[in-house]
C-alpha cells in the first residue's frame, strides 16, 4: 500500500478518543494535532527503512523486514508507554494496521522475525520495489491496490461524515 496509508492513518486518528479511553490514558481528540502527529509518525515509521537503503547502509532486501515485525511494534509501544500510554496505544494500533495494509503485497511480511523467517502475504498485488516512480506506477496498474486503497479513502470519508468534519459539517 502506498497512498492508501494516508487514508488508513487518517482513519486511525479518527478513533483516537476510543483508543486512548480503552487503555485508560490521557484523552486524545479525534483528528487533533496530537492524534494526527502520533498516528502518522507511527504509521509511516516502518517505511523509513528505505533511509538506510538510500544511504547505502543496507541492501534493497532490508525493506519490509525488521521494521515490519510484531517485535518492532512491541518495542515502539514499550518505549512510548512510560511517556504517554495513549500515544503507546495509538502507535501500536497504527503499526499493526500498517502491517495489515501491507499484507496484500507480494513482498511478504516477516512478522515473526527474529524468531521465524516465514513471510506472510495475501498476494493481492505484485510488489514493485521500495521506492521510485516505477514502483508507484507498477502498483497502480494492478486492480487490488485500487480496491483496497480506494476503499480506505471511502472509509475515511465515512469517518468524516460520522464526526461531522469538513466537508461533512
Amino acid at each position: 500500500m502506498q497512498v492508501g496509508h494516508v487514508a488508513v492513518a487518517g482513519t486511525i486518528a479518527s478513533f483516537a478518543p476510543q483508543i486512548s479511553r480503552a487503555v485508560g490514558g490521557p484523552p486524545i481528540d479525534a483528528w487533533s494535532a496530537e492524534a494526527l502527529t502520533v498516528v502518522f509518525l507511527a504509521h509511516y515509521l516502518p517505511n523509513l527503512d528505505v533511509i538506510p537503503i538510500k544511504l547505502g547502509w543496507a541492501t534493497d532486501r532490508f525493506h519490509c523486514t525488521y521494521s515490519h515485525t510484531l517485535l518492532f511494534a512491541a518495542v515502539v509501544c514499550l518505549l512510548l508507554w512510560p511517556i504517554n500510554v495513549s500515544w503507546a496505544a495509538l502507535a501500536l494500533v497504527s503499526l499493526l494496521i500498517h502491517f495489515v495494509a501491507d499484507s496484500g503485497s507480494s513482498v511478504g511480511l516477516p512478522l515473526l522475525l527474529p524468531f521465524s523467517r516465514r513471510k506472510f502475504s495475501l498476494y493481492l498485488w505484485a510488489d514493485t520495489g521500495h521506492s521510485g516512480w516505477f514502483s508507484f506506477e507498477g502498483t497502480y496498474r494492478q486492480a487490488w491496490t485500487w480496491i483496497t486503497e480506494g476503499g480506505m479513502f471511502v472509509v475515511l470519508a465515512i469517518r468524516g461524515y460520522q464526526l461531522g468534519a469538513w466537508p461533512f459539517n
Binding site: G129, F134, G138, R141, Q142, A143, E149
Partner: protein, 90 residues
C-alpha cells in the same frame, strides 16, 4: 493500462453501486447529506470501483502475473525497475 476501453466506464457503474450502498448505510436520518457530500462519496467510490472493473480486464491481470515473477530486491534489479515495469517483463 487497460485492455478494454470500457473498463473505466464499467468503473462508473461500480462506483454508483458502492456510493449508493455507502450512503444508504451511513446516512443518519436526522442529518441528511447535501448534494455536494453525496457527490463526494460517489467520486471517492470511483477509486475502488475502478479496481473492481480492473479485475475483469486482462491487462492488469497479465501485468500482475509478470511482475510476480520479478524479484525487485535482487542486486541490480531496483535500478532496472523503470524498464521492467514499462515492459512488464524481467
Amino acid at each position: 493500462m487497460f485492455a478494454y476501453r470500457r473498463t473505466p466506464f464499467i468503473a462508473v457503474i461500480f462506483a454508483a453501486v458502492i456510493g449508493a450502498v455507502v450512503i444508504w448505510l451511513v446516512e443518519v436520518p436526522g442529518r441528511p447529506m447535501t448534494l455536494v457530500q453525496r457527490a463526494l462519496f460517489f467520486a471517492l467510490s470511483y477509486l475502488p470501483g475502478l479496481g473492481l472493473a480492473m479485475l475483469g480486464d486482462p491487462a492488469p491481470r497479465t501485468l500482475r502475473a509478470e511482475l510476480l515473477k520479478i524479484d525487485f530486491y535482487a542486486p541490480g534489479m531496483h535500478s532496472r525497475g523503470s524498464e521492467i515495469v514499462k515492459g512488464g517483463k524481467a
